[in-house]
């Protein structure tokens, strides 16, 4: 197999790996997959952690390993790169749409321009209303906060800007 074909196969396998806590998002949507390159017959994959305390990272690494094996790639290595640090700015547009459809409000604003004591407007992923309130900054996982919509009265998760 040519290097290009091997890389393509590895990319397709990696795109199947999803976040175990947000199963609609692949590691490509999340920006967790940083690099796939081929050196001779070995595929080298680089991933980056999201939130420091995200317990899903180890799971993602195991799923990636399984996906690469399942696609018939025998020789590979998975390395974790820390720099540059992951940010929600890397979430793809497609990823944001999938989050909304799943009932999670995507990060509002840009991570590099957030204020310490400011509050960004978060639109309800169900009815689209901007009339929402924060119930708790810490939700079911490290990456989410808990909100409630004042219009449709539904509670929802908000993917924090990071």
């Amino acid at each position: 197999m040519s290097e290009a074909a091997l890389r393509e196969r590895a990319l397709q396998a990696a795109a199947q790996v999803v976040d175990p806590e947000i199963p609609v998002l692949s590691i490509v949507d999340l920006g967790v997959l940083r690099e796939v390159r081929v050196e001779g017959e070995t595929v080298r994959v680089a991933i980056t952690p999201t939130y420091s305390g995200c317990p899903a990272m180890r799971m993602i690494e195991l799923s990636l390993e399984a996906a690469l094996r399942a696609s018939g790639i025998g020789k590979f290595s998975i390395e974790t790169v820390l720099s540059p640090a992951w940010t929600t700015d890397w979430l793809s547009e497609d990823g944001r749409r999938k989050l909304r459809d799943f009932g999670i409000a995507p990060p509002a604003g840009v991570a590099s321009r957030r204020a310490l004591f400011g509050t960004a407007a978060v639109a309800c992923p169900r009815c689209g209303s901007a009339d929402t309130e924060r119930l708790s900054e810490f939700g079911s996982t490290a990456c989410k906060a808990l909100y409630r919509c004042r219009q449709c009265r539904e509670p929802f998760d908000y993917f924090k800007c990071h």
Partner: protein
Amino acid sequence: MSAGALFRYTLALADDALILGHRLSEWIGHAPLLEEELALGNIALDLIGEARALYAYAGTLDGKGRDEDGLAYRRDADGFRNLLLVEQPNGDFALTIARQVLYSALMHPFWRALAGSRDETLAAIAAKAEKESAYHLRHAGEWLIRLGDGTEESHRRAQDAVDELWPYTGEMFATDAATEALVAEGIAVDVARLRPEWEKTVADLLARATLTRPADGWMQEGGRHGHHSEHLGHLLAEMQYLQRAYPGAVW
């Protein structure tokens, strides 16, 4: 630059995060309300995650082949370099919140400064931790205001907590020759320069909480040199139990 100095610097930061993270995890199952249980658990998770990244890096600097578990679970109390502040028992909810405010009010600007470190790994870990510490500071700060400006009893407890912990704040700004050398090389953060910002954050929060800033008196120190209060040994006995009883045990 000496690898030993960078190892010890990284280790101290990791120890701070791990010990405080473990302390917060002790609230699981005991928090005053469900949302707070999630919040304290989340903050603990962030801190332990930061500690893991720092320990993993420290392990590569040390050259003794110790991984993050080796550093976290198989060192004795005198090998830990954390601040005395973070090992203090949780006390009541006000004490836990006051401890978090005092620590996070420094760590938020600290991580921001370290994100500009010439050490790429420390800078990357800091860039992540800076965002997380903003949440921690905001959360603890909002609680401090609510407790201080709440009922007579919550006010009294919040003031007692701040008074009790104040003597541990001096150590946060202490430095030594090895760290100063790292600062000169653009690797470490000059904490003394962060003091005005810390003072302002804490003073503003105390004022909004109708609490009184304690006077700076005699300050406790020793954590950075491995001299700890008796509390750390008890904490480690519980945290390290499994790896001590079954060395090398894996899931």
